[in-house]
């Protein structure tokens, strides 16, 4: 059997790769057309364009056009050359050697050297909000202008994904290394210089970003577009109208089912849910396990049994979302199907609550709970919270749905543990080290949103995660994550509801909409107009 698997894994891809030139010469006999302006609609205002100190999708969409990174990824989690032509992770997993492309230049014409790579990686380590990503990096050696060796204190396989466009923008040292604190560097929003396919020509805070084709881009002949305009409008229905009127050609990260349905029925538009595997967004119900009665695992299980995820996906999300059952998104190579599931069972739920000592009182009520939700994403968050309230009513639990005026108000409640249950939306961010560990490590119980605000503590889970984070062999690593996924779904600090149904909607005239694992937060150097 093993030999068959080997054939499947190793030989067939080679055969495909060998056949690719013939195939592609047939399909792409004509080179993509040059020219055109792509208008991208976005509801999120970005702070600035420097992804080395600012994470998040809002900065990453334009950021990955302006800044190139050592590696990029295809749609199957395989690393591809970008600024680095070749790369090698040492056998001990403690160093990554990058061989940089020769002749690549920044937007100001200066060459890109290993010095810039070293500067950028250390800057990211010092400033980027995701501290686990470059955490083990000790130094970056630069034996020659085109070789950078990243040295790490412990084996750190996540370093490969950390080289992605959205996570590792290479900054020109001669501009950003002037000693000014990078977090408030004026060149983060004005005269931004990178080496990506597009250069910045205008940034109006909260309004728009205008990018123009960089003629000396290191991948000759690309990009195909002349210009990209990111049009920021906090009202998604305005963006929708713009797309329908042809003023906007692409909207990434659309989730609203009413809008998606309307888009899907429009013959001038395309809809894809590919390109979101990397960020791995999950919609979930978090429990405050430090608080009674949520501290009782059986209460959490009883709550889970009242929730019909299929109903949520089909009825509340119009069939656009997929139920999720574990802490790692299904599209990740580390996800396993073997997790504990909680099918809808109101009778069993009531029995569990009885057994836990929460018998119904004279008025049929067992106890009262509150549920919070992240404001601004009603369909994914508020509506599910309302549904949970209605379902729990059926087993005698009275739930009060608490609205938060805005994000900071909600974040404050999470940070100060002022909640019983809350809906939440959290990203995996590619490697579990970056986006998954933070939610379950007992060492990450902090008064900050998107840490382990559930106060979940299990030394075995800590061990599993800490070990898995340093394993180079993907199969072994996956085995550790498999055990982790089973424990977490059994102990249920979080009940996973669904994968956030992100879609990229685009005008049919737009070709090669980005659908790699990082999708809209990767360079648009292959996008063109028909």
């Amino acid at each position: 059997m093993a030999i068959f698997r080997t054939i499947l894994r190793k030989v067939i891809p080679f055969a495909l790769v060998a056949a690719l030139p013939i195939y592609s010469s047939l399909v792409f006999a004509q080179a993509p057309k040059r020219g055109g302006t792509l208008v991208v609609g976005s509801t999120q205002a970005l702070r600035h364009l420097n992804g080395a100190v600012q994470s998040g999708l809002a900065t990453a969409v334009p950021g990955t056009q302006i800044f190139a990174s050592p590696l990029r990824f295809d749609d199957k989690w395989n690393a591809q050359p970008y600024l680095a032509e070749k790369w090698a992770l040492a056998a001990d997993g403690k160093s990554l050697t990058l061989n940089l492309r020769k002749g690549a230049v920044f937007h100001d014409g200066k060459p890109i050297t290993s010095e810039d790579v070293a500067f950028s990686i250390m800057a990211i380590k010092a400033n980027h909000p995701f501290t686990t990503m470059m955490g083990p990096v000790e130094k970056v050696e630069t034996p020659d202008p085109h070789t950078a060796i990243i040295r790490m204190s412990v084996p750190h396989p996540a370093i490969i994904l950390a080289m992605s466009p959205a996570l590792c923008p290479i900054l020109p040292k001669h501009i950003y290394g002037d000693g000014t604190d990078l977090k408030i560097h004026p060149r983060n929003s004005v005269d931004v210089v990178g080496s990506g396919p597009f250069r910045l020509t205008e940034f109006k805070a909260g309004q728009r970003v205008v990018l123009e084709r960089f003629d000396k881009y290191f991948l000759a002949g690309k990009p195909y577009l002349d210009k990209i305009i990111i049009n920021i409008n906090p009202d998604s229905s305005n963006l929708m109208l713009g797309l329908e009127r042809g003023e906007i050609q692409m909207i990434p990260y659309a989730t609203n089912s009413t809008e998606l349905k309307r888009f899907a029925s429009n013959p001038t538009l395309n809809l894809t849910n590919k390109g979101f595997e990397g960020i791995g967004a999950l919609n979930w119900l978090a429990f405050n396990t430090a608080k009674k009665p949520m501290s009782d695992v059986n209460v959490r299980k009883a709550i889970a049994m009242t929730i019909d995820k299929n109903f949520i996906s089909k009825a509340l999300h119009g069939g656009f979302s997929q139920p999720a059952d574990g802490p790692i998104v299904a599209s990740s190579p580390f996800a396993v199907p073997d997790v504990i599931r909680y099918p809808l069972d109101l009778k069993k739920s009531a029995e569990l609550l009885d057994a836990a000592g929460y018998k119904a009182g004279a008025n049929g009520e067992r106890f009262k709970l509150t549920i919070d939700y992240l404001p601004g994403q009603d369909e994914q968050q508020k509506n599910v919270a309302e549904y949970v309230r209605a379902q729990l009513k059926k087993v005698g639990v009275t739930v009060e749905v608490r609205a938060s005026a805005d994000f900071p108000a909600w974040a404050k409640r999470m940070a100060t543990r002022d909640f019983d249950m809350s809906m939440d939306a959290v990203f995996n961010w590619g490697d579990p080290i970056i986006g998954v560990h933070r939610t379950y490590l007992s060492t990450n119980i902090r008064p900050i949103v998107w840490t382990n605000t559930q106060s979940y503590t299990n030394p075995k889970v800590d061990d599993l995660l800490n070990t898995a984070g340093g394993l180079l062999d993907p199969t072994k690593r996956k085995a550790y994550y498999a055990t982790f996924q089973k424990i977490v779904t059994d102990e249920l600090p979080i009940h996973f509801i669904n994968g956030t149904p992100y879609h990229t909607v685009s005008n049919k005239k737009v070709l090669n909409v980005p659908t790699t694992i990082w999708g809209p937060v990767s360079p648009y150097d292959e996008v063109s107009f028909k």
């Binding site: 302006t37 208008v39 999120q44 205002a45 970005l46 702070r47 600035h48 600012q54 994470s55 998040g56 999708l57 809002a58 400033n127 909000p129 995701f130 501290t131 977090k183 408030i184 004026p186 983060n188 929003s189 109006k204 805070a205 909260g206 309004q207 728009r208 305009i229 049009n231 409008n233 906090p234 009202d235 305005n238 109208l241 713009g242 009127r245 003023e247 906007i248 005026a405 805005d406 994000f407 900071p408 108000a409 909600w410 974040a411 404050k412 409640r413 940070a415 990203f427 961010w429 933070r438 902090r446 008064p447 900050i448 949103v449 998107w450 840490t451």
Partner: protein
Amino acid sequence: MGTLRYLISRLFQGAALVLAVVVLNFALVHAAPGDPVETIAGASGGMSEELQAELRSRYGLDKPLPVQLGIYLRQVVSGDLGYSYFFNLPVSDMIADRVPATLLLVVTSVLAAFLIGTTLGVLSARRPNGLLSQSINVLSLVGFAAPVFWMGLLLIIFLASWVPIFPVSGMRGIESTGKGWGDVLDVVHHLVLPSLTLGLVYLAQYSRLSRAAMLDVLGADYIRTARAKGLSEGVVLYKHALRNAVLPVVTVLGLQFGNVMAGAIVVETVFNWPGLGRLAFESVLRRDYPTLLGVLFFSSLVVVVMNQVTDLCYRLIDPRIKTS
């Protein structure tokens, strides 16, 4: 002399008022739950404790509130509105960038509302029970009662979506370069719906007010005298009656400038108009204290100045009003 002393005393009153507004705003803004660092962490998809602490200390958020207020007041007095926490840009630059858009919107709507509203009011006062008067009444009531945001959305649905003659939102076309006469036309095209939305509310008020005032004045003895002198109806209406009837309208116009700014927040949000109102609204959501306080400070300054100007206008329209 009286006028000068009057002006100076008004100036001091105005300054004290602005100061009080700043202190009050500061207290209000900080009463909202959550702080800017949490917003930045949110926009970042998570952030470590150390980084949050570092940001808090950089922005001075770790100091006691009275100390923060002291620092802010000293800054404002020296003419420095600080840096936006969210965008890292000077607040004064951000305000300067947004003022023209708001000014254009507010001035266009208020002027249009004032001119059209007063005219309608006068027309309807001529025959208070006529058909024209009744229709103007109904129109005014609808304009007055309908919520601004709802009007805006309706206009978008009818005139931008169903019959797409006007743009949905923004101040310029998406691909605009912002240069030349084409740009002026583009901005005017974008201005129609938002200024109509904002103007309708005030149009209603001005027409009601001027109608009532005209009816009042038209019954006065001096109008009878004017008519008895054999003056034409136009001269009686517009020279004798309107000049007196317009006073309350001017009062309201001046007083309302603050209200118009508030209405502009809603209209700018509905139409994605890149003005001060939207900046203020979004700054609240981001807990971007310096930007929000800066906008509020600027608006209070405008309102105080506008009130002084109204007072001066009074004296021009009705010379009987002196420093009383």
